[in-house]
Assembly symmetry: C2
């Protein structure tokens, strides 16, 4: 069976009763399983991880939109994480017997259904893009904040489905297809937002930093800390420990210590095992030495050696 | 189906053609799968990991004994790791729908069969012991080297099955039942064996060190290094990173650096993920955030939070 992962991000991370109502709505549906969800008070955002068949996911996510639009008003939403919609982003990732093109098809179909049913502008992004190749989420965010005056650029702008203007309470929504990523946040023991922003700029690919890294610096509400909020889009090419070590080094150069870090949603075993192998200075550890990888044949890890430095 | 893990250790780690003949003998048998094997030149020892049903394992291991006894002569075996038999130890570990008592039953049955078929003294150890409770492998090793003159102690000594004296070429063999352990070796950048011995003594439970740790200091053949060779018998109570950090700290106190480390055989995901979580300073990582743990329902990880310091 084709299994796809969906990671809807919704713009509510503070009101427990609202989050629970939305989660309950999609909890026990056929051909779809909610694997995990976590809410962040500072971000004011909840990240859900679902796996299922394309039709199971479509039905579940339509219900998620319905409930979220009913319960959340974007005009009253304030959080540290950038957002433009009540259901802010919905990326699809291939998991089992699924290709990126299955995810593209699903993203486009869901986009049409959501725009029709809820009158929300839908922006397709990354592999699911139609207007330009691999439209980036950051570009859609920039467009929402700044618009554009450039006539040639305008061709690549705007939604793929639905009205041109944002929905009054639900905003817009981005639906995409992409490879798996690790959402990884590092909190710094300083209240100085500039330091988080400097480090984010230093490590992200866009500004000449590490490959496969997106990063922003944000403030953490109610805490005397700032955060480097990272998306690592290929942990096999850029190991998780290298990202962490680089943030740590850059922080130390500025006289700042790491407070703690977090992984939002799910991460593949291999990313964590590679990190452990680096920590322990393991010379020849192979993924096949992980007991569970041998016992669970349905989802097996790659058989190549881990890279450690 | 009852699935048990067996980890036979055989006293040959240098002659490729001998090792391969023994491995080939048990490679494709019914109800038994060879998951992994690795040979160590310094130890002159090969560690195999098999999983299977009790009857599948019994048949495979009897063939392993037959081939190993035919091809290896203990009188010509020299290695850094202590050993007393051609098939030195065979521990059984419960994996799926299996209890320790299933492993005890299997160990005792195999012990009888081996002693009868090959005329080798069989010592039952740990949970499978009969003469005293939880007879330790170290005590059997000590008995082989030193014997005993104490009449009261003698009652707990000697084999459970087979002749009283070691087989001329195959020695004795220890068969046991135990909980899973992690075999973890740390190599130090020094040729001074005393340093490895001191650190082993410092960290092992027997001498007041860390709980759940067995350790010896040994020389590495052909290399200017020594090794702290560790068995960690409960990684949930004593995390793997704590063992590594303690060895590192003790080495540094003696002006010695860690060269590299290795895990012999298999290790559970959780031990490595806990280590990664410690490295990355993850504040709230849960095993359910491991993608594969969610997808593979047959062998699931515990749902409690990871302990990090």
């Amino acid at each position: 069976m084709t299994i796809i992962e969906a990671i809807p991000n919704i713009s509510e991370g503070r009101q427990r009763h609202v989050i629970e109502k939305i989660v309950d709505e999609i909890h026990n549906l056929p051909n779809c399983r909610l694997l995990h969800y976590s809410s962040d008070v500072s971000h004011n955002r909840t990240v859900l991880t679902l796996v299922g068949s394309p039709s199971g996911l479509t039905k579940a996510i339509l219900r998620l939109y319905e409930k979220a639009i009913q319960l959340i008003d974007l005009r009253e939403h304030y959080g540290e994480h950038p957002r433009f919609g009540v259901v802010d982003v919905v990326p699809f990732v291939p998991i089992q017997k699924a290709s990126t093109s299955d995810c593209i098809k699903l993203a486009r179909k869901l986009g049409q259904l959501v725009s029709k049913q809820f009158k929300i502008p839908i922006y397709l992004y990354e592999a699911a893009s139609t207007r330009i190749k691999n439209r980036a989420l950051e570009d859609i965010r920039r467009e929402q904040i700044k618009g554009t005056s450039d006539q040639t650029e305008k061709q690549s702008y705007g939604p793929d489905f639905g009205p041109d203007s944002p929905h009054p309470t639900a905003g817009i929504s981005a639906i995409g297809a992409r490879e798996p990523l690790i959402a990884f946040n590092v909190n710094l023991k300083t209240g100085d937002l500039q330091i988080a922003k400097q480090i984010a700029k230093k490590i992200r690919t866009r500004n000449g930093g590490l490959p496969n890294v997106k990063a922003i610096g944000i403030r953490i509400a109610n805490r005397k800390m700032v955060q480097v909020s990272i998306n690592l889009t290929n942990h096999e090419q850029t190991p998780l420990y290298l990202v962490f070590d680089t943030v740590k080094e850059e922080a130390e150069r500025r006289g700042v210590k790491i407070a703690e870090s977090e992984i939002v949603g799910l991460a593949p075993t291999l990313a964590l095992v590679t990190t452990a192998a680096q920590y322990l200075n393991l010379s020849t550890f192979k993924p096949e030495q992980i007991l569970e990888s041998q016992l669970c044949t349905q989802f097996s890890l790659p058989r190549n050696e881990l890279r450690t430095e």
